[in-house]
């Protein structure tokens, strides 16, 4: 008996011998087209930086994520320190990106760089995770983190609060641009995880009523420097 793989491929090839007519739609710029071909039918991500930032602010507000614009690193550090004090955080885990590290050093509580191997239980006990990101998608209010840019897979999802520190030039207009950037940056050596985070964790499973913080962070902060 042939193995399952060969069998399934044989079934597929046999099935596709009869062609299905191609739908005659007008949309171009999908499969087979270079990313740069615009997708002007999707939600707008803004043509200029200012337009993108305005859309981003609006989207994040709707998502109940908190956007904090700060002029420089020092201001970012002050803002996070203030947050930690107000929220009475005991312990914060952070990713060892230079910008994040600068910010973390100003924390008034215990701060732990979680980039080396660690015990899961240790991270579970943290109040907040502090990470950088790959990019920010204005169109949808999404923050793209990766196992490279956020200190692995768990740091941006396990602690109750997620704080992202990024520079304003990391904002891209739309999802297509973010994906193109990722491909250019990592090529065929992609980080093992890339995650578009769009607002704090949520569920509507009980009577379709929105509740934040289902399993992931209840609160999401984006500090945008510059």
């Amino acid at each position: 008996m042939a193995d399952a793989r060969s069998d399934i491929f044989a079934r597929i090839r046999e099935a596709l011998k009869v062609k299905a007519p191609k739908p005659h739609f007008k949309a171009e710029g999908t499969t087979g087209q270079p990313v740069k071909v615009g997708k002007p039918w999707l939600p707008d991500g803004g043509e200029t930086t200012d337009a993108s930032l305005a859309i981003l602010a609006e989207q994040l507000a709707k998502l109940k994520a908190v956007l904090v614009r700060v002029p420089d690193e020092a201001a970012a550090a002050r803002a996070v320190a203030e947050l930690a004090a107000t929220k009475r955080w005991q312990k914060v885990a952070y990713h060892g990106d230079p910008l994040v590290r600068t910010v973390a050093q100003a924390l008034p509580c215990a701060a732990w760089e979680a980039d080396a191997s660690f015990e899961k239980q240790q991270l579970e006990g943290c109040d907040a995770g502090l990470t950088s990101c790959e990019s920010i998608v204005a169109q949808l209010g999404s923050i793209l983190v990766s196992s490279a840019s956020s200190g692995g897979r768990a740091l941006s999802i396990l602690p109750h609060v997620h704080v992202v520190v990024a520079r304003v030039d990391q904002v891209v207009p739309d999802l297509a641009a973010a994906l193109e950037q990722v491909r250019g940056r990592h090529g065929d050596r992609m980080p093992s995880m890339l995650s578009f985070i769009t607002g704090p964790s949520r569920t509507g499973d009980i009577e379709r009523i929105l509740v934040l913080g289902a399993h992931g962070p209840k609160e999401l902060y984006l500090l945008l420097v510059g």
Binding site: S147, L175, R208
Partner: protein, 463 residues
């Protein structure tokens, strides 16, 4: 009549008569309609976006062999292991073997309809593993011992009081009527389970051929945790989930979120390529992907309905379906409920047993209009009806439609039959005639006119 059909008729009748439950479902969907329309309005051209999404899936499905080959080559290059399963039994055996080899004890799962399709939890529990569903809705359904009601909103039919009772019974928590508090109970309960689990099992929404990544869409973060903390990650996916390029996700991810849940994007859309890489501080040591056929290739072999494999499981067709809203998801008796389930279940599990689902539709077409990838859903119900009638015609249909055929080809007989029908209608309504009695049970018929239109026309024009 098939067993599946008689159960369906019984359950559908009970649920359709439950006005309270129907009102509850309609109310639950009210917020969805509002948000969906708000998000759709943000698309600069929703119809063009549907074209693009449809084309992306058409291109992949109609080149499935090549794209799957390309995907698996890249997936393996990233360090993942691909397993092939012709049917449900093979898929279960593969997963059981991975668990046995790993000496696993505890397994945490995130939402995966394909695992419902192959009845994975039963098999794992029978083999002695502790299995916990981590999606809140799936967790509640697991505690209830009930299949998902809706493949995106698994427990949308359960009232908060029932969930509170359920948690009190199984988790020993104090009663509450707050959805927020109930969610937090589940959150606290499940956190330690992620940490302790040896294996995390997820589904996959898209398999990206270009990069060998799998894409997982969710809102709660439970899939993220399931794929981050346990030592082994197993993803289970149908072979039809392939898309050619990473760029296709720029269309498909927002469409899925908007059509399915009325969101711009769901909270977490995550691409995985391989297990923990060198230099990464966490993540699983092993990453397995089980690719399942389970009769999908039979659907693929039907070019007329091949587009049903474009389905991205957003659930939009259920949310607008008057049948779904009135009989509820459990009455279908299928893994996939609603219009898409009625279309594909006869292909996946047998036309003879499941064609009644295609019959149980007024063919209103709301589903087809809602589908973000333009599956011709309600016309496929017609195609299933045609295929079933051809494969196994019933004596009743032969008699009924044979007689109908005979009459409509003879205008004079038609006119005469009409006259007799009108004259005897008051009597006919009292007789136990098939169809007519079913109609008369809840509805009146207009009083039969003395003269038909053709009689009146003849008199007025030539009289």
């Amino acid at each position: 009549m098939s067993d599946a059909k008689s159960t369906f008729l019984k359950d559908a009748a009970v649920n359709a008569a439950d006005g309270d439950q129907r009102a509850f479902i309609r109310k639950a969907l009210g917020g969805y309609y509002l948000n969906r329309d708000l998000q759709k309005a943000r698309f600069r051209d929703w119809e063009r976006a549907r074209d693009a999404a449809s084309l992306a899936k058409w291109t992949a499905v109609n080149d499935l062999a090549n794209q799957l080959e390309r995907f698996t080559t890249n997936f393996e290059r990233n360090g993942g292991v691909v397993h092939w399963a012709r049917d449900a039994a093979e898929a279960r055996a593969i997963i059981l073997k991975i668990a046995a080899d790993a000496n696993a004890k505890a397994i945490v799962k995130s939402k995966c309809m394909t695992s419902e399709e192959i009845h994975l939890n039963d098999a794992l529990e029978k083999a002695g593993y502790g299995v916990v569903e981590s999606d809140l809705g799936e967790f509640i359904q697991q505690l209830r011992g009930e299949a998902p009601y809706h493949f995106v909103f698994p427990c949308m039919h359960v009232k908060r009081e029932a969930i509170s009772e359920l948690f009190t019974k199984h988790l020993g928590t104090a009663p509450t009527d707050s959805p927020e508090e109930l969610t937090m109970i589940a959150r606290r309960h499940l956190r330690q389970l992620y940490v302790d689990a040896d294996i995390g099992i997820t589904g996959a929404n898209f398999l990206v051929a270009e990069t060998g990544q799998i894409s997982i869409t969710e809102n709660e973060g439970n899939a993220r945790l399931t794929a981050a903390l346990p030592r082994i990650h197993i993803a289970l996916s149908g072979i039809e989930k392939v898309v050619n390029n990473l760029d296709d996700l720029a269309v498909l991810l927002p469409m899925l979120a908007t059509a399915g849940a009325g969101q711009p994007m769901t909270c977490y859309n995550t691409l995985y390529s391989g297990p923990r890489k060198k230099g990464e501080c966490d993540g699983p040591e092993e990453f397995h992907l089980v690719l399942l056929d389970n009769a999908r290739t039979q659907l693929l072999a039907d070019p007329e309905q091949r587009d049903a494999l474009h389905c991205i499981r957003c659930g939009a067709c259920l949310n607008v379906c008057p049948i779904f809203k009135n009989i509820g998801g459990l009455a279908y008796g299928t893994t996939y409920q609603g219009p898409i389930g009625s279309v594909i279940t006869p292909h996946l599990r047998g036309l003879k047993q499941w064609n009644h689902l295609s019959g149980a539709s007024s063919l209103c077409g709301a589903c087809t209009d809602a589908c973000p990838v333009r599956i011709d859903l309600h016309h496929h119900l017609l195609h299933n009806r045609r295929n079933a009638a051809k494969a196994a015609p019933t004596w009743f249909d032969r008699l009924f439609h044979g007689g109908f055929d005979f009459v409509i080809r003879r205008p004079r007989l038609f006119a005469f039959g009409g006259k007799v029908f009108r004259a005897t209608l008051p009597v006919l309504q009292k007789l136990p005639l098939p169809y007519l009695r079913a109609w008369m049970k809840t509805r009146d018929l207009p009083k039969a006119p003395a003269k038909s239109f053709r009689d009146q026309w003849k008199e007025s024009r030539h009289g």
